[in-house]
Symmetry: C2
Subunit: 292 residues, 2 copies
């Protein structure tokens, strides 16, 4: 199976398992509903699909890493639920549907996020015995490291602190490193840990993830501007006057696009020692907007 | 060292390590401050002290289980931060100090709670090699199971659902099983996992934890009523008319006190096969209000 079919297939596998992992549990019905509401709201399933594809490329059967892949998606979903809360971004809509706290109330949404973050660590340990306990411990550490105070949560705090302030390129990179790159990198590194990859392979995977993570975020900033200009007829300049801290604001559209290209080539180059990584090369191109 | 000195000593060890585990991390300063603010706000350190004492009774050196003990305290602290938020209990004070969200804002408090829950799983894996990876994986599972949708978070949801409603004794027990008993039981069971205890020992420890967890909660309900009557001159009856779901309301003070006694004896009886558990027997008595 080639790209994008293989990623569609991973997304389907992840969605089925996510539903099963929550439904099977003995817990208050409303909590399960709130967790499933956000887990099944769609999304690209990018992080778990990357984890599964790396695990396959490294010689494993993706089915063996499926629970761990669901763990990383649960962390992503919890972060969206908490981000949308009134005390954070106060977003009523998420992927075109009412946000979790609109549908279930703030208290239940807060707890659904807490429950998903907690369950993520539990399901990360639910792997068959072909994966060693040492590897599972390493996966738990990687997930916690990427999600926590030095990773995603840390990036969120930097984001809060930078609101309404103009920050430097270095500060923006540090913020996005936590908010976006850390969890994408964790997807690759957890796959390496579960597959028992050596340090050289893990370094190559890490380099790829770092590059596509940065490219993904810069591309997102570019789409914000280009999307606005196209659909609203709003000139690029007005978005840049919004004081929103983006790569486009700091570098301009053209230089941002060049950076996306450079990072995408670097990502693909990093994987060369691993041999056949066609699907991951295609993924890098898709995230860079080079193919659909 | 006897009781209570040994527990005071555990609390001091835990507090020192907690501070170190957060301070040493590379993360935004304000986030570390918010996490440390709540972690160092006091408290009995009951859960980590129980974990360390059980680990010692089972033949281990408490110092080896210290990070895992800090993990369980981090989960407890995160739950207090999130509980106090306006969308939950909306409490401005915690242990006589402004709650985390009063001191740092709701957004930072939410993220400090998220970061503590995440860090809890990371530090649970930070044990010396005398503890096997299998045991660490089991500890992660136990912590997640107790904290999550089928444990503490599930209990919180049941609590939200029972607000303003009269519930049965069975429903109250189910609610408290999640909110209070699950994490106390996890303290004992994680100690068993890390020490490699057999099933018979683990069952005895579990029975003790279940009993003192229930006794602890019932005693808390009794103190609420007796405390109110003594300090506010408010008659017991008025508290019971508050529609607050407590054991006292469902059973009355006398029957509640008898139940605390019975559970305390059961807890101590459960430990008999383990030999010398003097400190844990004393702990059961203290929690039951039989000694200071």
């Amino acid at each position: 199976m080639g790209f994008p079919a293989v990623f569609t297939d991973y997304a389907r596998m992840v969605e089925q398992r996510l539903e099963q992992l929550v439904s099977d549990r003995d817990a208050p019905e409303i909590l399960k509903q709130a967790m499933l509401y956000s887990l099944t709201a769609g999304g690209k399933r990018l992080r778990p699909a990357m984890l599964l594809e790396f695990y396959r490329v490294l010689g494993g059967d993706p089915a063996d890493a499926l629970s761990a892949a669901c763990g990383i998606e649960m962390v992503h979903t919890y972060s969206l639920i908490h981000d949308d809360l009134p005390c954070m971004d106060n977003d009523d809509l998420r992927r075109g549907k009412p946000a979790c706290h609109i549908a279930f109330g703030e208290d239940t949404a807060l707890l659904a996020g807490d429950a998903l973050l907690t369950l993520a660590f539990e399901v990360t340990t639910q792997v068959p015995s072909v994966i060693s306990p040492q590897a599972v411990v390493q996966a738990v550490r990687l997930l916690a490291g990427a999600a926590g105070m030095s990773g995603m949560v840390g990036g969120q705090v930097l984001d809060l602190q930078s609101e309404g302030k103009q920050i430097t390129l270095e500060q923006l990179q540090q913020l996005q490193e936590g908010k976006t790159v850390a969890m994408l990198r964790a997807a690759g590194q957890i796959a390496c840990a579960l597959a028992g990859a050596n340090a050289q392979v893990t370094d190559a995977v890490t380099a790829y993830c770092n590059c596509i993570g940065r490219a993904f975020q810069i591309r997102d900033d570019i789409l914000d501007v280009i999307g606005d200009t196209k659909t609203l007829g709003k000139p690029v300049q007005s978005d840049m006057q919004n004081q929103k801290n983006t790569y486009v604001r700091l570098l301009g559209v053209e230089q941002s696009e060049r950076l996306v290209d450079k990072l995408t080539e670097q990502a693909k180059g990093a994987l060369q020692p691993l041999g056949n990584c066609e699907n991951l090369n295609s993924l890098a191109d898709v995230l860079a907007g080079r193919m659909q």
